[in-house]
């Protein structure tokens, strides 16, 4: 065991960081796209079905195939990490989009009514009322997306994007269970860690709003 760690320890650390970078970048882009889109959908709900439907379709594309489709594209295909980040972003959109939309739509209508009746402008209503009340819900979507992305990011190694999948693929190729575990265990631990910390944040937000506990 110590020998194993000695041999692969440094590589595991590097690949974990790489894994985090792929996931983190994708999540950042996904949140930037999905949260505003989700808010926009609450303003014109007739678009909700087609747009969420489209995000849903993205979700159904098998990840290996997705990486493969993106690879020949200009600029994107030049760097495997770009391909990986774009694909991961696509997978992260649905949970965040859906929860942003549902979180805001699910706010007690009488609260929105009062916000209007008191003379809050549309922007004030969004920032002071809707987003805070939907925050724990939106974060729950981010959490689901993050855990999914950590998992899918292992496959990104297939197109040479790096990350912990590197070790797993090498382990599979050389029938080395130790190597597979060296990739799989940190990946699982990373997913659990992110899940737990986002879960904690989510709970705090829900408590602060004094209502609606999301699990």
């Amino acid at each position: 065991m110590t020998e194993f760690l000695h041999r692969y320890g440094a590589e595991i650390v590097t690949l974990t960081l790489e894994h985090l970078w792929l996931t983190g970048a994708a999540m950042l882009i996904a949140v930037t796209i999905a949260v505003p889109t989700g808010i926009a959908l609450t303003r014109s709900p007739r678009w909700a079905r087609p747009v969420i439907g489209a995000a849903n379709i993205l979700q159904t594309i098998p990840s290996l195939a997705f990486f493969g489709f993106l690879l020949p594209l200009p600029w994107l295909g030049e760097r495997a990490a770009r391909v990986a980040i774009v694909a991961l972003t696509a997978y992260a959109l649905l949970p965040i989009l859906r929860n942003t939309y549902a979180g805001i739509q699910g706010i007690d209508p009488s609260v929105i009514f009062v916000a209007r009746a008191l003379g809050l402008t549309g922007t004030q209503r969004l920032i002071k009322v809707e987003l805070p009340l939907a925050a724990s819900f939106i974060l729950a979507g981010v959490r689901t997306a993050t855990v999914t992305c950590v998992g899918i990011a292992t496959i990104a190694a297939a197109v040479g994007a790096g990350g912990l999948g590197e070790l797993i693929f090498r382990g599979v190729a050389s029938v080395d269970n130790g190597l597979i575990l060296a990739g799989a265990i940190p990946a699982a631990a990373l997913a659990l860690l992110l899940d737990a910390s986002l879960g904690l944040l989510e709970k705090r937000l829900a408590i602060r709003t004094g209502q609606r506990q999301t699990s």
Binding site: D108, S110, V111, F113, V114, A115, R116, A117, L118, G119, L120, T121, Q124, K128, V129, P132, L133, R208, T209, G210, Q211, R212
Partner: protein
């Protein structure tokens, strides 16, 4: 001097064609309380909401101090009118202190001013700021929540106050306390109030005039004493429905089951 609030032939028909208000004309003098009384579905809440344009009349006009609300800026109009609704009106994620001063916050007043005003109003409605300022709505009783709602409605020094069944969800004793508090407060502040209720007793206790609505029509608008003495069948029916328990108990005492 023009009336503080005046409805001129206000009608409202829903998109489905249901007539909720039919040609209602009514004037509320400054500093007085007018109670909109009627059973559920009589249109009293709809009429109240035409004042701050949460409902836009299909025809007719509402004016405040002689100025039609039709061309008013919506945000400014609503900020200038206090609004209290039943039970659910507080924001679950705001402390009492912040909720009360929300309109001031929306107007961009400095924080220190907001806190000061908020504490001043909490005191006015009988809540000690040192105990209640930092609480959230779910940490308050129903009566306390209504007090906070009232304090919030007063925050921006509105000339008019709209109250939609403010005490509807409270038990009779708490309700009576709140009515006393409101009556004392209004006597001091001289606000123009439009109050919706289906409670005859509340209407008689708080109103300078009582407007009875039925199926979207204004049946009568009379001062409390005249209201009780009225021979109009709709008014008599409303009064009769209210004192049934009293009459039945009195009858039992006289030995008639």
């Amino acid at each position: 001097m023009p009336a503080a609030i005046e409805f001129r032939s206000v009608s409202f028909t829903t998109a489905q064609g249901r007539v909720l208000l039919h040609e209602i004309s009514l004037a509320v003098e400054a500093g007085t309380t007018t109670v909109l009384l009627g059973r559920s579905g009589s249109g009293k809440t709809t009429l109240l909401r035409t004042v701050n344009r949460m409902v836009e009349p299909t025809s007719g006009d509402v004016s405040l101090q002689g100025t039609s609300t039709r061309d008013a800026d919506l945000v400014a109009l609503r900020r200038g009118i206090g609004y209290v609704i039943q039970e659910t009106g507080l924001f679950p994620h705001f402390t009492v202190e912040r909720d009360v001063a929300l309109v001031l916050e929306a107007q961009g007043s400095p924080r220190a001013d907001r806190i000061r005003r908020s504490h001043e109003l909490l005191t006015a409605v009988g809540l000690d700021p040192s105990t209640f300022a930092r609480r959230y709505p779910h940490q308050l009783s129903g009566g306390q929540r209504q007090r906070v709602g009232l304090a919030r409605a007063l925050a921006a020094e509105p000339s008019a106050l709209l109250m939609d069944e403010p005490f509807g969800a409270l038990d009779p004793l708490t309700r009576a306390e709140m009515q006393d508090m409101l009556r004392a407060l209004l006597a001091r502040l001289r606000k123009t109030v439009l109050l919706v209720t289906h409670d005859l007793d509340e209407a008689l206790y708080l109103g300078d005039q009582i407007a009875l609505l039925q199926e979207g029509k204004l049946i009568a608008c009379l001062p409390p004493k005249k209201f009780l003495e009225s021979s109009q069948p709709e008014i008599q029916a409303y009064i009769r429905a209210f004192h049934r328990g009293e009459r039945s108990a009195a009858a039992q005492q006289e030995g008639r089951p």
